[in-house]
């Protein structure tokens, strides 16, 4: 059981650091954004399961040969108000640390969610008073401001917004390409896709791998939305929209912004070869296996 705990700990640390960094710098995700997003979700889930599981398994190690019955033994003893004599201080410390980490993760996730919902509601209230419907596309609102910006407000009561600046610099077809991009975000609930990584990033901002993960996932949902928009509109309309909005956006003065913009334009104008079908299948299998391994270790009799 101590070996199982060690294996889970190693798996958790490898997923949180080297694996996250490697995936964040890999080239293949641009060729299969959906597969890469699945692997990221699996890394987040499996990493959390492994780290928390390692502490729990170590804590109950003296009580049996497989985790699940040993948990039950410890839980029964604690409910009865006593601690089994085999459980030493180190085990209790591991248990406390694990419970604290788990609680922190939960509290951060809950507070990020509440803050997000509040900010969204405020934004939506203001939009409904300030923005006017755009007659050319139902469900789209126009915000009267000269800076070009297009975005969507996710959630059950979602909103699509373009600023007057966007209508100024874009042709109607290009606006439709932008809207197709934003609708992909809304339809596929990309806000929920990024949420776990926002929570991980806020729980452990000192772990560089977590920050890499957050940025990589943010870039991947944009690629995915570009793919959807390019399939619905003409790719050149999307490129024109990116050039026009990107060139006049206030962030255009930032070199990292223009680098990322050129990378995106390059990817739409000359799409990289999608991953071959067997490789796509392999990517999805890896994602499933990543979650299955720590789950099996924790639940199956050893």
């Amino acid at each position: 059981m101590e070996l199982t705990a060690l294996a889970l700990l190693v798996l958790g640390v490898v997923l949180a650091e080297p694996a996250s960094r490697a995936l964040a710098t890999a080239r293949w995700p641009a060729r299969d954004p959906v597969g890469a997003l699945l692997v990221w979700q699996a890394i987040g889930l499996a990493g959390g399961l492994s780290l928390l599981g390692a502490g729990l398994v170590y804590a109950v190690a003296p009580l049996g040969d497989s985790p699940a019955p040993a948990f039950a033994t410890l839980a029964d003893a604690v409910v009865a108000g006593r601690l089994p004599p085999e459980v030493r201080t180190a085990h209790v410390l591991a248990l406390v640390a694990t419970v604290l980490l788990g609680m922190r993760l939960f509290v951060v996730l809950a507070s990020v969610t509440i803050r997000t919902l509040k900010a969204r509601r405020r934004h939506r209230d203001l939009l409904d008073v300030l923005a006017t419907p755009w007659p050319d596309a139902p469900g789209t609102r126009v915000l009267d401001h000269p800076l070009p910006v297009a975005y969507c407000l996710p959630g059950r009561s979602s909103r699509l917004v373009v600023s007057a600046g966007v209508l100024e610099v874009l042709e109607p077809d290009e606006v439709r390409a932008v809207l197709a991009h934003e609708q992909a975000h809304l339809r596929e609930r990309h806000d929920l896709v990024v949420l776990p990584f926002v929570a991980w990033g806020a729980t452990a901002p000192f772990v560089r791998g977590m920050v890499c993960a957050q940025l990589a996932v943010a870039a991947l949902i944009e690629m995915r939305a570009d793919d959807v928009a390019a399939a619905r509109a003409e790719p050149h309309e999307l490129v024109g929209a990116l050039r026009a909005v990107g060139g006049s956006a206030p962030a255009a003065a930032l070199s990292s912004f223009t680098t990322a913009l050129h990378a995106r334009i390059g990817r739409i104008s000359a799409p990289p070869e999608p991953l071959a079908a067997p490789l796509r299948l392999l990517v999805r299998a890896v994602a499933v296996a990543l979650v299955a391994v720590p789950t099996a270790v924790l639940l199956l009799p050893g």
Binding site: T116, L143, C152, S163, D191, V211, A218, A251
Partner: protein
């Protein structure tokens, strides 16, 4: 809201109703809407004798600026609040962007 923004002084529900120029709206309807706007922190109410006066919390331009700040702030964790056409900006360059926005 437009009536309140156009007025230079706080208005009563009755004055808002007059400002809307529509006799078909009942005063109670206007009051309901004003109450909702108050809950959403868009108007404040002050009591002057028996009458309640309403005035906007901020100008239309201030609110539009607030929305634009929300929309342009490059923090990646804002991705959960809204998804912007041009993605997010690394945390170390957010301050630079904020300076650009003024």
């Amino acid at each position: 809201m437009d009536v309140l923004w156009a007025a230079s002084t706080p208005l009563t529900a009755r004055e808002v109703q007059d400002g809307l120029g529509s006799r078909e709206l009942a005063t109670t309807t206007v009051l309901t809407v004003l109450g909702r706007l108050e809950r959403k922190a868009l108007v404040t109410r002050t009591r002057d004798g028996r009458a309640h006066h309403y005035r906007p919390v901020a100008s239309r331009e201030d609110h539009v600026a607030e929305l634009m700040r929300d929309a342009l702030d490059g923090a990646p964790d804002r991705g959960a609040v809204l998804a912007r056409f041009l993605g997010s900006i690394p945390p170390d360059e957010r301050a630079a962007l904020r300076d650009l926005l003024g």
